[in-house]
């Protein structure tokens, strides 16, 4: 999960990873005596250490950038080392972008070669565009060509990042196939091609439980090794993340801090985790899962909304009634199927819990 940059480089709001952690990267590079793949700044081992944290022989402490299973980072780094493209999958709030940025910073020393995927991402963003003034004045030439981040990464042997790959229209996605399999980018207008230099690779991120996205074609999919970033492993981790984030958000919205809110946050997180996993926290009872993602990000917004309700319309203390409507809205996405799921959960799980009676009543009222 994101940590705070140690020092602020210049006055930018958010410095790039390679700037914020320049000290750690330099210390790692100095201590790293293992073989490095072509044009890598660090060896795979050092990249993994950079992400997972550790202490170097000279005493430099590397802060963990990613808190989660070691396996995930190891597979991701190894994938890049074997010259395969990496696809990071996960629901919102699982640090996909964060991991891809730090991977690019550690491997290539530059995390700025970035294609932001949207429904409007055009082919120029993946291949190349033209400087039309120059094109009209001098005709097609290398100078008139505007390279995309992907093309620049190919020429320089760097790591390029593609964010939200599944939001990019399918035909634009497909232009990546040649790049990833042939490692060349033909420029038919000039009768030439750009061949990727060793060290070129691509890290893409995608949301795997989002609806209305352009699913990857199997041809593209098989060019990627897929790593799924899991949700926080324990309830305590997740409560911690939610509480911290809510606190930050609340301050920027000038909401009063809720001293007793942590119990309510724990309850919301428990509900989300139980429904997401399809099993109660004690592991005794199975549950149906609703169609929504119920990500940590949604839990954060439910709690923030509840906090606003409590501050402006309640007594300033976050109570069950303040979050009930938000939870209901997050869970019941499909009015028919999800409502049954929710009611079953209410009647078979929530009702049985002695100290959840206020929450049970609040949910019944919210659903009525």
């Amino acid at each position: 999960m994101p940590g705070q940059p140690e020092n602020r480089v210049q006055q930018v709001l958010r410095p790039h990873a390679e700037d914020a952690f320049a000290g750690e990267l330099a210390a790692l590079a100095a201590a790293d005596d293992r073989p490095r793949p072509a044009r890598w700044r660090l060896s795979p081992w050092a990249v993994a250490t950079y992400l997972l944290g550790g202490t170097l022989p000279d005493g430099t402490v590397i802060t963990p950038k990613y808190v989660g299973p070691r396996r995930v980072v190891e597979v991701a780094v190894t994938t890049l080392a074997t010259d395969r493209a990496l696809l990071l999958l996960g629901v919102p709030g699982t640090a996909k972008t964060w991991v891809s940025e730090h991977l690019a910073a550690a491997v290539s020393g530059d995390s700025t070669l970035l294609v932001q995927g949207t429904a409007g991402t055009a082919e120029e963003a993946v291949r190349y565009g033209w400087d039309y003034a120059r094109l009209l004045a001098h005709g097609p030439s290398r100078e008139a060509l505007v390279p995309s981040p992907v093309m620049r990464a190919m020429e320089q042997g760097m790591t390029v990042r593609v964010e939200e790959l599944t939001r990019i229209p399918a035909d634009v996605q497909d232009s990546l196939i040649t790049i990833l399999s042939e490692k060349t980018l033909p420029v038919p207008e000039l009768g030439e091609e750009v061949q990727a230099v060793r060290g070129f690779n691509l890290v893409a991120t995608a949301n795997d439980r989002d609806r209305g996205v352009n699913d990857l074609s199997s041809a593209l999919r098989r060019r990627f090794n897929t790593v799924v970033l899991p949700l926080p492993a324990t309830a305590d981790d997740e409560v911690d993340i939610v509480a911290r984030r809510v606190d930050q958000l609340g301050r920027s919205l000038d909401l009063p801090a809720a001293p007793d809110g942590i119990d309510e946050i724990r309850r919301v997180v428990t509900v989300f985790r139980e429904l997401r996993a399809g099993v109660t926290a004690d592991g005794r009872t199975k549950l149906k899962s609703p169609s929504g993602t119920l990500s940590t990000a949604e839990a954060i917004s439910v709690v923030t909304g509840g906090l606003a309700l409590a501050a402006h319309f309640g007594d300033g203390v976050l109570r069950a009634g303040d979050v009930a409507a938000g939870v209901l809205g997050a869970v019941v996405r499909d009015p028919a199927a999800d409502r049954v799921v929710w009611q079953e959960y209410l009647e078979t799980v929530v009702r049985e819990r002695e100290d959840w009676q206020d929450f049970y009543r609040a949910c019944r009222e919210a659903a009525a």
Partner: protein, 782 residues
């Protein structure tokens, strides 16, 4: 001391039980040393059974099973997989015609000791004794002892062609000696000392018989102790006075799944399939393994190409390099398979784990093997219950109130769970009570085969049936299968299996989205709750599950009743009846056992659902009508409301077919006609509706109505006919039911009293009061 240091000493091969690398090393060492005899850690009583291993029908995984003759439930086992070093040594000895002996403590002693755990070596029971491998692994900088051993021994392949095949054994023996010295007596327990004393004695005997050129295969931990110099008398002293029982041994087929279990009959090997692969693969284990994975995924419909496999192999090998391991192990291949072959998903990976990493391997035991303990247990039961196996078909009737008969019934039910269909329950002729059961018994020869197959589940009929029921529940696909299994468990008296079965049942119920399935499952379950305690089983857990099921039905039923075709509506109406009865029974049971009034709450919620069904437009008429009827029968609706519901359902706007379906739902089933007989208003409504049905539609609704009314008793039909004829078709005036006066006719009521007095004769003093209450009752019920 070490194998080469003293050439005349026995060749001691310290292994990890079930380690494929150890097995391969043992085979190479035996090929090289060509010992005069092979000694293996195992029960000496099994020496007589060793020749069976040469039988071509014998296929591992198998296990040597020792059980106490008087008590087959007490059993210990020594499992052997194809990749077990012990099995390799055994097969080597048989193939080279070399004498073979087991040298561990006899099973007779092991069974007599309080906590029999013969396999307490490196692979199991780390808590009992200091785990030697964990200590070694920690010394080598590994967190996980399994991984360390795999890197250090199992994955070490080939080596110099005619180099030192004994080197690994020497290294392991040295390491173990260091460990045992370092930890002193701390890691040893008394039982180990006894076992090792026995092994030393057996080795001494063997050296006397076959000379010094013998090989010993045992757990690595024991090696230092076996080379230690001890006097014969000291060893004999240790073995003196050990408790002993009469033990019998047999070979039984085993499965990979059981090997992988950590408790019970398992051997604690997490990945027998992977080990088997490592042992069998001639070369390039990672490539071959990932090809196997790809083939499995392809068979299951996942598009996996050779290009995928190539990338997966590269990823696995690079991962191993990153992690600093000599060869990609199971963790690396699994990670690679997940990232490349399974698109990051754990779902196909679970399949790979189940089918390949663990595997479906099932062992076989030749015909000539001694009878399994299960068979012996059945023989014993047959004798004690005087129930002889006979080839001819024969019907037996059991009175379950008698102990012997109840035990017989349980035995037959248990055998049925085991797939040994000796008896079939027969539907009894005539109305016998629930305490009677009729069975058709017939012992077919193939049942012996079935029994041998069932031996894998346990050593007693009860234990095996329990294990089988639990496995069946976990594997059971449909909810109703599991419910049926729960019922069978109750019939068979398998209370030990119930917790598992119920847990699975609760899980299935939670995940089943089809309310009809839940409705189907509930009645059987509630029946079990109701009659469970008749057979002495604890029904509270069962009631909990049934309650959860009912709760889910309550939540899901209204949505499940919308948009049903007439056929489906009729089925759902049946479910409605079934659930209604079950909820009533269940609420009774809950009220009897529970304090919190949950029974009443359940009833209340259920009648809430019925009201919703009754009043929701757009639901099929049959279901709405039925819901009204059920509410009426329970006294939840007064006549006024029922009349309003009926009026709405039969109003002119409703299509005639829908109205007829409503009437069918309302009146169908038992005692439907009496409702009409007693409430002239309802009859009037039906009558008025019927006369208003247009001529064209009348022929459409006639069959349904005829079916509904034909089910009434003849008397009821006649009364109805008379009422319709004498009363007018229109609704009768308020409070004036057809055939009844508006007020109580005192004179006619009094005329009953003499007869009543006659009937209630002896309680003469109470007569006036009784008569009075009879009168008032009569009065309130028109």
């Amino acid at each position: 001391m070490t194998p080469t240091a003293a050439p005349d000493a026995p060749l001691l091969l310290g292994v990890r039980h079930h380690g494929p690398g150890s097995a391969r090393a043992v085979r190479a060492a035996l090929d090289r040393a060509r010992p005069a005899a092979v000694l293996v850690e195992g029960p000496p009583e099994a020496d007589a059974l060793v020749h069976l291993a040469a039988d071509e029908d014998m296929r591992p995984p198998v296990a040597l099973l020792a059980h106490a003759v008087d008590d087959p439930g007490r059993a210990v086992f020594w499992p052997f997989a194809a990749f077990s070093p012990e099995w390799t040594a055994l097969r080597w000895a048989l193939a080279h015609d070399v004498p073979f002996r087991f040298i561990d403590l006899p099973a007779a002693h092991t069974l007599a000791s309080p906590a029999p755990e013969p396999d307490a070596d490196a692979a199991a029971a780390p808590a009992v004794r200091l785990d030697p491998l964990a200590a070694l692994a920690a010394a080598g900088g590994y967190d996980d002892p399994e991984t360390w051993w795999e890197d250090a021994v199992e994955h070490r392949r080939g080596g110099p062609p005619d180099g030192d095949v004994l080197a690994p054994f020497r290294a392991v023996a040295d390491a173990m000696r260091e460990l045992r010295d370092a930890f002193g007596g701390e890691g040893e327990d008394a039982r180990d000392a006894v076992r090792e004393a026995h092994m030393r004695l057996r080795i001494r005997d063997a050296r006397r018989a076959y000379g010094d050129g013998i090989a010993v295969v045992c757990g690595a931990w024991h090696v230092p102790a076996l080379t230690a110099v001890r006097t014969v008398t000291a060893d004999r002293q240790l073995l003196k006075g050990l408790p002993k029982v009469k033990a019998e041994l047999s070979w039984v087929p085993w499965t990979h799944r059981r090997l992988s279990r950590h408790s019970g009959y398992g051997a604690g090997i997490a990945s027998p399939g992977w080990y088997g692969h490592l042992f069998e693969a001639a070369d390039r284990p990672v490539e071959r393994w990932l090809t196997k994975v790809a083939r499995l995924l392809r068979d299951e419909g996942h598009p996996v190409s050779s290009a995928h496999v190539i990338e997966a192999v590269r990823l696995a090998e690079t991962l191993a390099a990153l992690r600093g391991r000599p060869l990609a192990g199971l963790a690396e291949t699994t990670d690679a398979a997940r990232a490349v072959l399974c698109d990051g998903s754990d779902v196909p990976l679970a399949l790979v784990h189940d089918r390949l990493v663990v595997g479906d391997e099932l062992g076989e035991v030749p015909e000539g093997a001694p009878a399994s303990p299960l068979r012996r247990d059945l023989d014993r039961l047959q004798r004690s219950l005087r129930l002889k196996p006979e080839a001819g078909r024969r019907d037996r009737e059991f009175d379950l109130r008698k102990d012997t008969d109840a035990a017989r019934s349980r035995l037959l039910h248990r055998l049925r769970i085991l797939g040994v269909g000796w008896g079939e329950p027969v539907v009894p002729r005539g109305g016998l009570g629930t305490f009677r059961e009729t069975w058709r018994l017939c012992w077919e020869p193939e049942l012996s085969v079935r029994l041998a197959e069932a031996a894998v589940w346990g050593t007693t009929v009860e234990g095996a049936a329990t294990a089988r029921a639990e496995a069946g529940a976990v594997a059971g696909a449909a909810l109703s299968d599991v419910t049926a299994l729960a019922e069978q468990c109750l019939l068979a008296g398998l209370s030990a299996a119930l917790p598992t079965v119920l847990r699975v049942l609760a899980d299935r119920a939670a995940l089943d989205t089809d309310v009809a399935h839940l409705c189907q499952a509930l009645p059987a379950l509630v029946r079990s709750v109701r009659y469970g305690d008749v057979r002495g089983t604890d029904a509270t857990a069962l009631a909990g599950v049934a309650g959860g099921l009912a709760e889910r039905i309550v939540v899901g039923l209204p949505a499940a009743c919308t948009g049903l075709a007439p056929d489906a509506a009729a089925t759902m109406r049946g479910h409605l009846d079934g659930v209604h009865g079950s909820v009533g029974l269940l609420a009774e049971v809950m009220e009897a056992t529970d304090t919190a009034g949950s029974g009443a709450a359940l009833r209340r919620r259920w009648s809430g659902v019925l009201r919703t069904l009754a009043s929701r437009d757009g639901l099929p008429g049959a279901i709405r009508g039925r819901a009204v009827r059920l509410l009426l029968d329970d006294g939840e609706l007064d006549d006024e409301r029922v009349a309003r519901f009926m009026g709405l359902a039969l109003s002119p706007g409703t299509p005639p077919a829908e109205g007829a379906a409503w009437i069918d739902g309302f009146l169908g089933g038992g005692a439907g006609g009496t409702v009409l007989v007693h409430d002239a208003r309802l009859l009037g409504l039906v009558d008025a509706w019927l006369t208003s049905v247009p001529a064209g539609a009348f022929t459409d609704v006639l069959p349904l109505l005829r079916r509904t009314f034909a089910a009434f008793e003849a008397g009821v039909r006649r009364t109805l006919g008379e009422q319709v004829r004498c009363g007018s078709g229109a609704p009768a005036p308020e409070g004036d039911a057809a055939g009844f006066g508006a007020v109580l006719d005192e004179e006619r009521a009094d005329a009953v009293l003499p007869t009543l007095r006659l009937l209630l004769g002896p309680v003469a003093t109470a007569t006036p009061a009784t008569a009075a209450s009879a009168t008032t009752n009569r009065g309130t019920q028109p």
